[in-house]
Amino acid sequence: MSDDQLVAAIAGASNDALAELYRRHAPWLLARLRHRCADDGIVAEALQDTFVAVWKAATSFDGRGAAGAWLWGIAIRQLIGKLRKRHPEPMVLDERWGRAVSAEELVLFGTEHGDLAGALDRLSPELRAVVQATVLDGLTTREAGHLLGIPAGTVKSRMTRARAEMRGALV
């Protein structure tokens, strides 16, 4: 059964379909949420509420986009909701952002992104977090601000700086 069919079955209140969707998608959603938040308690809550929300909102899934993207859109917003309530330390900005890229990784992903990967990796951690939240997670300026624990205005100015730095690195 495809993911789309599973979501349709969930809209028809099938518990088994939700269990199967969880089995397929919860692992990567968990890993991805953990890349955004270091607190496992908050991550667990966000993951739980994601699937409760899927149960309630399955009828609103129109099947035009990928089910995976739809799920992540719900999950990241659940996480932002939790972070907003708790005001914890902002997302993980750890050393992996500043770490040198291994040769294997360059070979593996180099063809896909070329110098863009290098330009992204050379950004400062704060700027890269903003690029990740707005470009990769597709969040609005305001949502990205909540995720990162910074004002929306700062998200905008950092995005402008990131764009300039990356353009400078590419030319």
């Binding site: 518990n15 939700l18 692992p27 739980q48 992996r96 990740q132 990769l136």
Partner: protein, 274 residues
């Protein structure tokens, strides 16, 4: 996509050991690639991640909560166990038709207050006293009770169920009829003269249900209650006086007797087959 995750790469992603651009590549790939998601799932399972099972448990509990009717959720919130809430919730659904009947009682009360005549007030007292009886019959009757199958299979003491459901039926019945009494309050305390006979009939019907189906017991009692003044050919005014005085004592006596019968036979009490 020209590439897929290797098992090593999946492990490094879960362990957060990739660089920012690699994470970006993987994360833009994952939402559209079922193959790589399966790899992440396999690696996570192999690593014995306990959080996945824990979260799933909590999801099922939360869903149970979502799918329960609001009445049961409200009861759990004020501190009742989910099982008790389910029992009371089912009882309250059985009471829906009964609530409509209670509204009729209120209607008669309004007419009685408006007309101010004894006949209408007598009718109000007659109908009002039937409230608790009908509520009890609806709460326990097999034919009208959607919770009957639930009760039959619930491993709780039958005695506890009887007490719980009697309370759940009587309290709203008495409350609504009590409100109706406010409408005819100029009659003084006689306006609540229905209360004791009403409760007495409810308890007596429960006691009778040891021997006969509770619907039959309730029907018999209700018929007797309505028929008594007709057979006695007493004017309504006189009837009200009787109900107010001697009637109250008779009601207390009957209720006590019935309660004793129920308590005495509680070990053999089996409402499952009434």
């Amino acid at each position: 996509m020209s590439w897929h995750l290797s098992p090593t790469s999946a492990k490094d992603y879960i362990g957060q050991r990739h660089s920012g651009s690699t994470v970006a590549s993987i994360e833009s790939h994952l939402p559209t690639c079922g193959e790589c998601r399966r790899l992440i799932a396999d690696v996570t399972t192999a690593a014995n991640e306990p959080l996945l099972d824990q979260v799933w448990q909590r999801v099922t509990i939360a869903l149970d909560d979502v799918t329960r009717p609001w009445s049961e959720r409200a009861l759990t919130r004020v501190g009742l166990s989910p099982e008790t809430a389910r029992l009371l919730g089912a009882t309250s659904r059985a009471r829906l038709s009964f609530l409509l009947a209670m509204l009729l009682t209120v209607g008669i009360a309004i007419v009685a207050a408006h007309g101010g005549r004894d006949a209408e007030f007598g009718a109000f007292l007659s109908v009002a006293a039937l409230g608790p009886l009908v509520a009890t019959a609806l709460a326990f009757g097999r034919r009208v009770d959607p919770a009957h199958a639930l009760v039959t299979t619930t491993p709780t003491s039958v005695w506890r169920i009887v007490l719980l459901r009697t309370a759940a039926s009587l309290i709203p019945a008495v409350a609504i009829t009590g409100l109706a009494s406010l409408i005819v309050r100029e009659r003084g305390w006689v306006a609540v003269a229905w209360l004791l006979p009403g409760i007495a009939m409810a308890v007596v019907s429960l006691a009778l249900s040891i021997w006969v189906p509770i619907e039959h017991a309730a029907l018999g009692l209700a018929t007797a209650w309505i028929a008594a003044p007709v057979v006695a050919l007493r004017p309504a005014g006189e009837l009200i006086d009787t109900t107010a005085g001697l009637g109250q004592l008779v009601a207390i006596g009957a209720a006590t007797l019935a309660a004793l019968v129920i308590t005495y036979s509680r070990s053999t009490l089996d409402f499952r087959e009434t």
